[in-house]
């Protein structure tokens, strides 16, 4: 098993005071807390910090840990000394709710498994629900519209026959219902970690995110699309084809439209009660005057008009 340098993880010196350790943890926790941080590795980093803090904040655990000295480097292969269990006895640490088995093998070998009651005695009874697992899956918008299945692989703690906890890889095939929106979570009851002492397993929470789409943007159930149109389609008002998640539809552009005009296709967004709408923003695309004929047409327009589109700007 790998040696963990708890001082390095919290970025403090080996002789740091308890106050320094507390401050370092709080500062890092604010930055890397998975509920706050946007860093991609926030969850793993935070887990490490929590474990390091769990040891270093407790003078008894810290002094036990300290006897390994500064010669050990993070990642080095580590075995505890043979007399470890006899000299030190820890009742298991952790003050967490529903996340037993969260600490590394290194921690558990030295200090036992964290099976805290935690949370000011507000945990349900003495029996502890298994670990809840949070995972996320990124899907294309089309799958959110039609519904889809996703195979996801998770590492979940599982109790061995001797009661010890091992991490196992579990593969699940999850149905994603049509009409799901980004940021929503699917709860899969009892698909989390195992419970202890006959208590129920934890749950699995699957957060849904959308892949960026080349032309649609989702806002809740509504879909936004920028639709390129020609100057004459916008000026004269024409019927044009518009893509929607459910297939192309015809859209009547009102005569006299300009770039930025917003049109709504009711009920063409993601499904639900009520279904979302699709908002279409017109973007007038001006063909270049690249040939003689086009140039002449533009010049005809120029001669026939004395419009100043910059009048409002005072020039």
């Amino acid at each position: 098993m790998e040696f963990k340098d708890y001082y390095q993880i919290l970025g403090v010196e080996r002789d740091a005071s308890q106050d320094d350790i507390k401050r370092a943890y709080r500062r890092l926790a604010r930055k890397y807390h998975p509920d706050v941080s946007k860093e991609s590795d926030a969850e793993a980093r935070f887990k490490e910090m929590k474990e390091a803090y769990e040891v270093l904040k407790d003078p008894e655990k810290r002094s036990a840990y300290d006897q390994f000295g500064a010669n050990w480097k993070a990642g080095q292969d580590f075995q505890p000394p043979p007399n470890w269990q006899r000299e030190y006895s820890f009742g298991g640490g952790g003050e967490s709710f529903g996340d037993a088995g969260q600490f590394s093998d290194f921690f558990e070998t030295l200090f036992g498994q964290a099976r805290g009651e935690g949370f000011g005695g507000f945990r349900t009874g003495g029996r502890m629900k298994g670990e809840d697992i949070n995972a996320s899956v990124t899907i294309p918008l089309e799958d959110a519209y039609r519904g889809a299945s996703r195979t996801i692989t998770l590492e979940v703690p599982e109790a061995d026959t001797d009661g010890s906890v091992r991490r196992r890889r579990k593969t699940l095939n999850v149905k994603i219902p049509p009409g799901i929106t980004a940021g929503k979570r699917i709860r899969l009851e009892k698909q989390g970690g195992p419970g202890f002492g006959g208590s129920p397993p934890g749950d699995l929470y699957l957060a849904i995110d959308f892949e960026p789409h080349p032309f649609y943007r989702a806002d809740g159930r509504d879909i936004h699309l920028e639709l390129p149109v020609t100057p004459w389609e916008a000026a004269l008002g024409r019927k044009v084809k518009v893509p929607t998640l459910g297939g192309a539809v015809d859209l009547q552009i009102p005569a006299g439209s300009s770039s930025g005009k917003m049109l709504r296709l009711k009920g063409r967004g993601l499904s639900g009660t009520p279904p979302g709408d699709q908002y279409v923003e017109l973007k007038v695309v001006v063909p270049p005057a690249s040939d003689e004929k086009t140039r002449e047409l533009y010049e005809t327009l120029e001669r026939g008009h004395s419009v100043n589109p910059r009048a409002k700007l005072g020039v």
Binding site: D35, F97, T124, D132, T171, L172, P177, R185
Partner: protein, 97 residues
């Protein structure tokens, strides 16, 4: 590590289409109901209905669990956690624009 595959699992989408009772919400969070009542009192989560028996929308589970983690890991109190969650929601909304 051993592998096994479970096929075709159907979960519940935690949105406004589903509601949970106080007991169900507490169970989902792994805490006693008193703690959920405290969260409601501090405005961390809000019941969907104002009837005698509380019902909570699905996203309350997510919000309550986030609040519990914040309170525990960052040593916040309930009003602090509620403020953080509100600001994070606002940040999310702005970034989506």
């Amino acid at each position: 590590m051993a592998e096994r595959t479970l096929a075709g699992l159907r979960g519940i989408v935690l949105d406004e289409q589903v509601t949970f009772t106080l007991g169900e919400l507490s169970h989902a969070c792994g805490v006693r109901t008193e703690l959920v009542v405290e969260m409601v009192d501090h405005g961390v989560i809000e019941p969907a209905t104002s009837t005698d028996e509380w019902q909570f929308y699905g996203d309350s589970i997510v919000r309550a669990q986030r609040a519990l983690r914040l309170v525990q890991d960052l040593e916040l109190n309930w009003p602090g956690a509620a403020l953080v969650l509100d600001l994070l929601d606002e940040l999310d909304r702005l970034q989506k624009r």
